[in-house]
Amino acid sequence: MSNIAIQCDGLSKQYRVGGRERYKALRDVIMDGLKRPFRIRDDLRSSGDSAESESTIWALRDVSFEVTQGEVVGIIGRNGAGKSTLLKILSRITEPTQGQAEITGRVGSLLEVGTGFHPELTGRENIFLNGAILGMKKAEIICKFDEIVAFAEVEKFIDTPVKRYSNGMYLRLAFAVAANMETEILLVDEVLGVGDAQFQKRCFEKFRQISRGGRTIFFVSHNMAALRTACQNGIILDCGRVTDRGEINTVADRYLASLSKHNGTESVETKSFTVGEVSIRSLDGPVIKTFDDIEIRVRVLAKTDIVSPGMFLSILSLDNQRVAALAFNDFLNISGLKQGDWCELGLRVGKFPLLAGEYEIEIDLTDLGHHKIELIARRYNFEVVESPVYEGRKIDQRFGLVGLEVRAFGGPVQNALGPRVGPRVGPLDNANHKV
């Protein structure tokens, strides 16, 4: 027996777009039938543009790959790249136009949490209904019932119609049912995109647990950080084609690098300088990730004689908060410049702590010898890409702007008044347990 779980050969899917209306009215078909005798003349007249009126697009084109059993694969790509179409074909919801896929093992697809949940039914009833829809046997659901309820934390409300549930309870319950599917292959589409951070973390841990059990998982998500921690390998889809495939971090970095815009190299003038180039890059890879070592370089041309070249460099968040500001001359003094000299000012930052998001750099070029401070009229933006911080949890603005290097400790304590190392921080000392 081969250990290939999924093998795709030239999978293609064509959709019809534009031209025709989405719903054909029966009237149109009947009218078409009535007009048939006159069709020939019509066809002759309009044969030229009939091909264009019914245009088609290829949502997937010649997609071939293999996934071995137990592999956890992330599918990465922009919206409309064909990720969901691929999952739909593999889960047999829609049929490919060309090509074929061979799947060994039972497939569970989780394209949405709570598919088939009915608001009028109680939590208990929905567990059974949803389980059956996902392909579980009744006996299997009974067996898993307690586990599902415990995971969802809805014990008290299990006999309440789910329309009375809070959004969070609803999602937890829906996810709990799906996470207990026991198929050899699991296809997951963006389910981690819902719910609050706490819930996402729990879902995410559940998936890691599942993948450790040797099951094949196919993951589509926009949460790059989650993909990096959950998956071993990645497949990049672009415009329906596989453009890259390999180890997840390598693939994700290459993908993000291909997305990020390059920083301005066009020159900007100030009174005493011409700014040639400003660049910011990671020393650890093609994209900047939290805790990478980074390097900022500024190249300038002196338009007059400069005594002591330097700069003030600020990093700003998009809402104009100054996250950090550095004065070049605090670190290094370089010799004066003659008019027409080129000069490079560089800063290296170790363990750059900014969390994923877009930032801007604002630079004042200085000549402290002449008491000149000249603001460069434009800002340079850069992006820190999503990467695993805090055990791979999806990090957004609610977690602040900077990442901290954290190690949690603690557990049950025998004697709360026992000897302590270090000062008490306050009455909430044991808050660390919850981090």
């Binding site: 027996m1 047999r92 090509g99 697809s109 829809i133």
Partner: protein, 286 residues
């Protein structure tokens, strides 16, 4: 979709193998797979039953009230005022037995024709044999039928009508009626996915069909030589069969019923194949 599933018991060494590729030409009905999903069929039917009378004051009484009120209206207008012949059966009983069969059909067809579109979310998100959906809505309609049947027994007792041995054939006629409803439902639900006109056509068709079927009047009203033609309406065969099984009148199924049977078989088989042929487009078109 041509899918070859060799489902063996779940031993870790023998995993089922699925091949996904574009299908063409004639499709198999894959009834075996349908059997594997029988639990889902029951769960969906159970959901429909559970949800149908939620937040109604009268609840499942509606299942009985609908044919009952129909009977009262028909009895007043057709039984008393128009004096429609009812084969010697008390008119209320005559019309109720017809309405009982009719409601099962009308409800099944209405529900199943909209079922595929109504379950769009399921169809675009999960795989299962799509046939389960219209089948489940017909199964759910049977529950109402069972409730209404109880009242019929009461009415028969009231009018002192004792069923003969023919009552044993009732299950056959019920199955026959389900086949009729399923055949029609499959066609309409498939058409509905692509042509939403169906939604507006069905109520009208059902109304006309009621008058074309021997619910209000007896099929003896139709001249004997036209009866085989009348049998082209399968509900004529069904309702006459019901009356014969329950009330022993007007007569055992004959030529008309044979014609109806042929129509039903043709309707069901063509419906199944049409549905299976079109279902691969459901997720894309719906």
């Amino acid at each position: 979709m041509t899918v070859v599933v060799s489902e063996l018991p779940h031993s870790p060494l023998e995993l089922p193998r699925t091949i996904i590729r574009p299908s063409g030409g004639w499709v198999s009905l894959r009834l075996q797979e349908l059997w594997q999903y029988r639990e889902l069929l029951f769960f969906l039917a159970w959901r429909d039953v559970k949800v149908r009378y939620k937040q109604t004051a009268l609840g499942v009484a509606w299942a009985v009230l609908q044919p009952l009120l129909g009977m009262v209206v028909f009895t007043v207008f057709f039984g008393r005022l128009a004096r429609v012949a009812s084969d010697g059966i008390p008119y209320p009983l005559f019309s109720y037995s017809g309405l009982l069969a009719w409601h099962l059909f009308a409800y099944s067809v209405t529900e199943s024709s909209s079922s595929v579109v109504a379950n769009e979310r399921l169809i675009t998100k999960v795989y299962f044999p799509r046939l389960v959906i219209p089948m489940a809505s017909i199964l759910a309609a049977l529950v109402d039928f069972a409730a209404a049947l109880v009242l019929l027994i009461g009415l028969m007792a009231y009018y002192g009508v004792h069923p003969g041995w023919a009552i044993l054939t009732l299950p056959f006629f019920i199955v026959f009626e389900i086949a009729t409803a399923l055949g029609v439902g499959l066609w309409l639900s498939t058409l509905n996915v692509q042509y939403r006109d169906v939604r507006y056509t069905v109520p009208f068709v059902i109304q006309v069909w009621l008058f074309a079927s021997p619910v209000i009047y007896s099929s003896t009203l139709v001249p004997a030589r036209w009866r085989p033609l009348y049998g082209l309406n399968p509900m004529a065969g069904v309702i006459e069969g019901f009356r014969w099984a329950l009330l022993g009148k007007p007569r055992a199924p004959g030529v008309m019923f044979a014609v109806s049977s042929l129509v039903v078989v043709a309707l069901l088989i063509s419906g199944l194949y049409y549905f299976r042929r079109m279902e691969k487009h459901f997720a894309d078109v719906i």
